[in-house]
């Protein structure tokens, strides 16, 4: 009997001791613990470039189709060739809190903000990184955080301002006043401007640098009516010898073009695809269909179609088979649908120099520096093969000219037209005639997504969506 008990107890004691150790698991082989991520230059860099990869990995995720074409639909410039519920709500400005892409854009931008905050927190205390690398990466993280907040605040109005990874705090945050969000955007961009280098880290213009931060800062000042600051920030970019307007419009959207301030490198290049934009708009065959098209009344008719090179180079059309007449137009800034070459020739443009001319123009006109402002507009017009604006134009006329030039220059790029109409308060006047009864003045803001409100009772809804 005695032996049995000793045996039993022995078995159990051995097992008890072995247990604790037994369930200490190693880290999975396909993950890297946070402490190690910020311990060397390469993985720390990957923590930031991961954001760019995810921004552009899929066509209905964030950049490209969603930001450029759906926002273009809201402004009446772009339309989808067929009836499709998820796009029709954009076409008719009938967004619902439950609309798919209203939720996608909200969630994904906050996802990037989380990662940017993780990087800021990880990089801030990081040891063992090359100081210049650490500084550049930290600058990029602040830049990304500002970039996302900028688009959020312009799409949704007041939005929660997220500046840490503390989910308990962030989960219940209410919407922050737009002015406060802008304060953070501007302060983040100033930090980014001072932290980032003037050179692109790997030579390619696929990661933001100091000039990209100044450029976004110029835009933020413009949107908040800080004209002198906007002019100064844009001026800093425009006087940077690294950038210039390309006379050949067919080269503007090529990878590392001299006009590019920041481009996203295409990452999901299955089937020889370059950019998602090109893939979605350039028809597959000579008789194929373009899926995203340009509205002939609201956009095409505003071009001087005989001289404007932008119309000639950045717009293409399909003819109706039966009559040979032009059936529809589509954006042709990106020209590659798929390529048999393994070299990527086009990158997805996020920010480019032309916008800086337009920002400085507007900021100067607003400060009554009409001549300087007009000359900035003319820089853009002359490049497009147009003549200079008449010197007789007064301030309101010049502001309208700026609005038009922005529309014709930046169409189908990152929602510029939509945000312009909204920030200048011109949306009702311009869009009511186009959209008819579907238009309500409250449509200038997206609804706060239903999924966001159902998970956070502190979020209020925008007017017109209750």
């Amino acid at each position: 009997m005695k032996n049995i008990h000793i045996l039993l107890i022995g078995v159990l004691l051995t097992s008890a001791a072995a247990c604790k150790k037994f369930v200490d698991t190693p880290v999975p082989k396909n993950e890297l613990v946070s402490g190690l991520v910020f311990s060397d230059d390469k993985s720390a860099t990957a923590s930031v470039t991961g954001i760019y990869s995810n921004m552009n990995a899929f066509n209905y995720q964030y950049a490209n189709i969603l930001m450029s074409y759906l926002n273009g639909m809201l402004a009446g410039d772009v339309y989808y060739f067929s009836a499709f519920a998820s796009y029709d709500v954009f076409k008719f400005n009938e967004l619902l809190p439950s609309s798919q892409y209203v939720e996608t854009m909200w969630g994904n931008q906050y996802g990037f903000i989380y990662q940017a905050n993780s990087c800021i927190e990880g990089l801030t205390g990081a040891q063992g990184l090359t100081p210049a690398v650490r500084s550049q990466l930290l600058g990029e993280a602040y830049f990304v955080r500002a970039f996302m907040h900028f688009y959020l605040v312009n799409m949704y109005g007041d939005v929660p301002l997220i500046t840490s990874t503390n989910y308990k705090v962030n989960n219940v945050k209410a919407r922050e006043n737009t002015a406060v969000v802008y304060d953070t955007i501007i302060s983040d961009l100033k930090k980014a401007e001072s932290l980032m280098g003037a050179d692109y880290p790997t030579g390619k213009r696929i990661r933001p640098n100091k000039a990209a931060a100044s450029a976004l800062l110029a835009r933020a000042y413009l949107y908040t009516g800080k004209w002198p600051e906007a002019e100064a920030a844009a001026n800093a970019v425009l006087t940077n010898g690294r950038y210039s307007l390309l006379q050949d419009l067919n080269s503007v959207f090529l990878a590392d073009s001299r006009e590019a301030l920041w481009q996203l490198q295409p990452v999901n290049v299955a089937g020889g695809r370059n950019t998602w934009e090109g893939f979605a708009t350039v028809p597959a065959t000579a008789t194929g269909t373009a899926i995203f098209r340009l509205d002939s009344v609201n956009l095409i008719h505003k071009f001087d179609t005989t001289t404007d090179l932008r119309f000639k180079k950045w717009v293409d059309n399909r003819k109706a088979a039966a009559t040979g007449n032009i059936a529809y137009y589509f954006p042709y800034k990106y020209k590659v649908r798929t390529s048999t070459s393994s070299t990527i020739t086009e990158n997805s443009m996020v920010m480019r120099l032309a916008e800086q001319f337009l920002i400085r123009a507007e900021a100067r006109i607003q400060q009554d520096k009409l001549t300087e402002g007009r000359s900035d507009l003319d820089s853009i017009r002359l490049r497009a093969g147009l003549t200079a604006l008449p010197t007789s134009l007064d301030k309101p006329a010049l502001l309208l000219a700026t609005e038009k030039e922005r529309q014709l220059e930046l169409f189908a790029e990152w929602g510029h037209r939509w945000f312009d109409l909204k920030r200048t308060g011109r949306a009702p006047a311009v869009l009511k005639p186009i959209k008819g009864d579907k238009w309500q003045d409250t449509d200038v803001l997206y609804p706060i997504p239903a999924a966001a409100r159902s998970t956070n009772i502190n979020l209020t809804q925008n007017l017109g969506y209750n």
């Binding site: 039993l8 107890i9 369930v23 999975p28 993950e31 009836a83 962030n170």
Partner: protein
């Protein structure tokens, strides 16, 4: 570990004695021996250690002694008793005297013999007694016995799982005694965690399904055979295609997270049920349990309450399903062959509008919207053939599938060594147009060896299965609503494509999916009997499953409008799992009771690895399944899941005279799924039973032959949350940026969550009437789960939509279960048996502190089931406008579409099964009905439902649509607007939610045993079997099927014929 304490207590059962005198002074006359013992203990402190049964044959004692030495005194006392003794320390051990001198001349020769079962296999360990005496022996490993008895004596045989047997000795032998299996289900063995017992003595809640009911059904997955047979167990098919998985729910849903899968144990070894798919095929993910062939299963035991499951501790919250595979039996070598073949069709197809009705609805929709159809918005009205009428359902899922199953086994062996070897082959096609075979080949091997005079026993079993599922990537059922005049081909004979959002389902058939799964389950148990009643045992198990998938998407199957060329997916996963479980069990008689102790420990490790690669730029579409022929490979995901698990466990059972039984179990578990500080948890249960029919006042009662009351309470748990949720780490992005992969946070980590707990309470009454011909069980249970592990929904502004955490919510599952087994008629040639089960479950979110401000405020309601579904209240169709009227939640307040109401719940109100078995001579008929009372989403429910009048066909409910002012319509008016708020609300409203109850003729099997006819040939058994599955469903549900619901392949109606041969 707390187990140690338990065993130390057990150790203290040894009795210690103080120091006393070593001599005795007594004067006793005709007293029982026990009185002598008492005196000795009192005077000397010596204790007697014995089995009370030994005393029954002793004679009264008359003795006088004065200061007699203890040894001399004992010698005198035992001189004419049938007992001997030995002194060790202060204890006197009694044992029976070897019977030496022939007391009666006619018993000079001991009676010898062998005990066998009806199949001629010897029975080891049968207890044999001579009636009216204390003489008793046990059969040896050869089933042989030798006992002092002679003609005229009556032998009483008893053995677990067999009917007690009495026989009068008529000659001196050697005898061959045959025992019959227990007719009373109460004496059948029941498998419990780490052991066996019999139903009569069991303190827990356990249901059993035997091989006969499993193997004769034309199913590939053992889970399918359990539908309708087990009270408390709700099994729902997820899809009608072969190999698809099942949703299993035992006694309701305990967890907010929703995982209801029980723990599966195959031959004592946990079976990891993580699906291996890297990407879905038409049947979703493949059911892991399909890797076990139903033909190889001996029995399945379902453990439900705390008493039965707590020995499995943390993983037993959702119950435990024990699968026991077939083993060899000693005796003649036998060969079995089963061949089954048949066909299947989809159980139900929908009635859709024909082309004329469809086009009429479309024109009406344009008219209602004030729009003119054109070639872009209405190709079906403008350009497509107005007379084409394709029945997409018939074309895509209306074919006949074939079913063939062949299985053969060889078994036999001696009493020392037994073996079983079997092989099965299944071939099944689908109801989709191409043949798309699903093949399964498997073999099963089992070996038992008993040696060292019965002291050592080894069991080894191995199960290897290979499954090849050649299917397509997508279930084609979803194309049921394609416009009936959608052209398959264009004018040039190529596939027709429209826009980029329509797919041509016929072109889809060119896409292939090939999934190959192999699985090896090997386990062995080594047992050594150290002392009588004390066994040491170790179970060893190793499981390896792997899956290789290839899906090819040739150019011809793709819309030229948005294709980037042909491509393929390659997926690989493999899972290796091992386990070691040493155990010790000890059984001893204490007074009139039997004490059983069990202690053990577990070490388990799993590793799941895999990756998915997308391939493109192929030289030629003929090479799509060759990864080397791809011009570009993109790794999409890699899987790495390492899991370890360790425990110590123990159990004490004390059974007093078959009347009062107490059972306590305990387990301490550690799991790597928790953060470093929270890895261990304690679980346990206590159960008790009172077999009141054994009490004197009920013994020999003519009506009530058996009665037991039992109850149990305990705590079990769950760690079903996936791995690494506590780990703060980063993983690589899908695509590299600037030449190197980016990193992205792998998750929002939480290092502090702990085990989820389920406290289970159960009370049950088991009754047997008329010699147990009618058995009736009633169970009541009340399980409360707390410390909920949830994927806590976060507001998306956090950057993640969820985090794993405990939540102080409580979920109640309470219910009643009724089981009835009855032999209605038993005649010489005719027998009619009925089995009936009925289960009620009420699921309720009992508490959820702060739900109003939580992320679940729109999902759950305190006091309601976890399975509630919310939607709008449908108030009929407005006769004026033709639009759906959405009522406010509060009927008195004005309409507010934001008002979301509870539409109903998806968990059933009650469910059960009724099986009748009739046998007449060699003919046997089994009829099983399954019934479920539930509600659910109807055909037109959900965000995938298209409005009446868009370019999708509708079912014939469209005929009741609103057409003009004043119409009292049942469904909204036709409209082309894909996004119209009235249909958007309607499709998630009470208008498309309703009754999904059904009664289904689950299985009908007719067997005819031809053995008698063929008795002159050397055939042991030859039967023919006709079987039908899902032949009839009675339901008012308007979709494909009330069981699978939704737009997926409904279950099949199957008819098979089979042949069973035993040589």
């Amino acid at each position: 570990m707390r187990l140690t304490v338990l065993l130390i207590i057990a150790g203290c059962l040894r009795v210690s004695a103080a120091s006393y005198a070593q001599s005795v002074s007594v004067s006793l006359k005709n007293v029982p021996l026990e009185e002598v013992f008492a005196t000795v203990k009192q005077q000397t402190g010596f204790l007697f250690f014995y089995d009370r049964d030994m005393l029954t044959a002793t004679k009264p004692v008359t003795i006088k002694a004065r200061n007699q030495a203890l040894t001399a005194f004992l010698a005198a006392v035992f001189s004419n008793q049938p007992l001997d003794y030995a002194i060790k320390d202060k204890t006197i051990f009694l044992k029976r005297k070897p019977v030496t001198a022939p007391e009666t001349p006619q018993q000079a020769q001991p009676l010898t013999g062998t005990v066998k079962d009806q199949e001629g296999q010897v029975l080891i360990g049968v207890s044999i007694k001579v009636k009216g005496t204390t003489k008793g022996v046990v059969t040896d490993v050869n089933g042989k016995f030798s006992i002092n008895a002679g003609p005229g004596d009556v032998l009483v045989l008893s053995y677990i799982g067999f009917e007690p047997y009495e026989v009068q000795v008529s000659n001196q032998g050697p005898l061959t005694l045959v025992m019959k299996p227990a007719v009373s289900a109460l004496d059948e063995a029941v498998i419990i965690g780490y052991g066996t017992t019999i139903r009569r003595k069991n303190t827990g809640s356990i249901s059993t399904v035997q091989s006969k009911d499993i193997a004769d059904q034309p199913v590939l997955d053992p889970l399918a055979a359990l539908q309708g047979r087990v009270s408390g167990l709700m099994i729902t098919s997820s899809n009608g295609l072969p190999g698809s998985s099942f949703n299993v729910m035992l006694r309701g849903r305990n967890s907010i997270l929703g995982a209801t899968d029980p723990l599966y144990i195959v031959d004592g070894v946990p079976f990891v049920t993580d699906p291996l798919n890297q990407f879905n095929s038409a049947n979703g993910t493949q059911s892991p349990l399909a890797s076990i062939s139903p033909d190889d299963i001996e029995r399945i035991d379902i453990l439900k309450d705390a008493d039965a499951t707590a020995i499995y501790g943390s993983r037993a919250g959702n119950g435990v399903i024990l699968i026991t595979t077939k083993k060899g039996k000693a005796g003649q070598t036998r060969f079995n062959l089963n061949v089954t073949s048949g066909g299947s069709k989809v159980a139900n197809l929908l009635d859709m509008l024909n082309t004329q009705q469809y086009l009429e609805m479309r024109r009406e929709a344009f008219a209602n919207d004030g729009k003119t159809p054109d070639e872009n918005t209405a190709p079906d009205l403008v350009t497509w053939d107005q007379n084409a009428n394709t029945n997409w359902q018939k074309m895509m899922i209306g074919n006949t599938a074939n079913f063939t199953n062949v299985s053969a086994s060889l078994s036999g062996g001696t009493e020392q060594t037994r073996f079983l070897f079997s092989g099965t082959y299944d071939h099944q096609t689908t109801v989709m147009p191409n043949s798309l075979p699903f093949r399964k080949a498997g073999s099963h091997f089992s070996l038992d060896h008993t040696g060292l005079g019965g002291k050592f026993k080894a069991t080894l079993s191995a199960n290897y299965n290979f499954i090849q599922d050649k299917s397509i990537a997508t279930d084609l059922t979803g194309y049921y609503n394609l416009a009936p005049n959608f052209p398959i081909y264009d004018s040039t004979g190529k596939y027709f494509w429209f826009g980029n959002s329509f797919l041509n389902p016929v072109a889809m058939l060119h896409r292939t999916s090939d999934a190959r799964t192999s699985s090896l389950i090997a386990n062995s148990t080594l047992r050594y009997t150290i002392l009588p009643g004390l066994n040491a045992k170790v179970s060893l198990g190793y499981t390896k499953r792997d899956m290789k998938q290839v899906q090819a998407y040739p150019l011809i199957s793709q819309n030229p409008q948005n294709t980037t060329g042909s491509f393929s997916y390659f997926g690989n996963s493999d899972l290796a799992s091992w386990i070691v479980e040493p155990q010790i069990d000890y059984t001893r008689q204490i007074s009139k009771g039997e004490l059983q102790l069990l202690a053990g420990a577990t070490w388990q490790g799993d590793l799941l690895q895999g990756e998915r690669i997308n391939a493109e730029n192929f030289v030629n579409d003929g090479l799509l399944e060759d990864i080397k022929s791809a011009g570009r490979l993109t790794p999409i995901s890699s899987t790495y899941n390492f899991y370890r698990y360790t425990s110590g466990f123990g159990r004490i059972t004390y059974n007093w005279d078959g009347k009062y039984i107490v059972n306590a179990s305990f387990r301490r578990d550690g799991s790597t799924r928790f953060g470093p500080d929270n890895r261990f948890g304690n679980f346990g249960a206590v159960g008790a039973a009172w077999v009141f029919s054994e009490e004197n006042f009920l013994r020999n009662n003519q009506v009530l032959s058996y009665g037991k009351l039992r109850a149990s309470a305990g705590v079990t748990g769950s760690d079903r949350i996936g791995n690494y949720q506590y780990l703060e780490s980063w993983s690589s992005t899908s695509y590299p940026y600037d030449g190197t992969p980016g990193l992205t946070p792998a998750r929002l980590p939480n290092g502090t969550y702990r085990w989820e707990e389920t406290r289970k309470l159960e009370a049950a009454l088991e009754l047997g009437f008329l010699q147990d011909k009618l058995l009736f069980n009633t169970n009541f249970y009340r399980n409360v789960s707390s410390n909920m592990l949830v994927a806590f929904m976060l507001s998306p502004q956090v950057g993640f939509t969820e985090i794993t955490d405990n939540f102080p919510a409580k979920v109640l599952n309470t219910g009643w279960e009724f089981d009835l087994t009855s032999v209605n008629i038993r005649r010489k040639d005719f027998e009619w048996r009925t089995m009936f089960n009925l289960s009620f479950n009420r699921n309720e979110l009992m508490e959820y502190p702060g739900i109003e401000s939580s992320t679940y405020k729109d999902v759950y309601v305190v006091g309601k089931s976890l399975s509630i579904v919310k939607g709008f209240r449908f108030g009929g169709i407005d006769p004026e406008t033709g639009k759906a009227i959405i009522l406010a939640a509060d009927p008195d307040s004005p309409q507010d579409p934001d008002d979301y109401n509870i539409l109903g719940k998806t968990m059933p109100d009650f469910f059960g099964g009724l099986q009748n078995t009739f046998s007449y001579k060699g003919l046997e008929l089994d009829v099983l009905f399954q019934f479920v009372k539930q509600e659910g989403p109807l055909l037109n429910y959900g965000y995938l439902s298209q409005a009446y009048g868009t370019i999708y066909n509708k079912d014939i409910s469209a005929l009741g649509r609103w057409r003009q002012k004043g119409d009292q319509a049942s469904v909204p008016m036709a409209t082309t607007l894909a996004n119209n708020s009235f249909y958007d609300y309607y499709r998630v409203s009470s208008g498309v939610w309703g009754d999904a109850s059904f009664i289904r003729l689950k299985n009908i099997a007719l067997r005819y045993n031809l053995s008698k006819v063929l008795s002159r040939y050397k055939v042991n058994n030859l039967s023919v079997i006709l079987s039908g599955q899902n032949l009839l469903t009675i339901t008012s549900y308007d979709g494909f099927d009330p069981e699978t619901q939704g737009l997926r392949m409904p279950p099949m109606k199957t008819i098979t014929a089979g042949l069973k041969l035993t040589l």
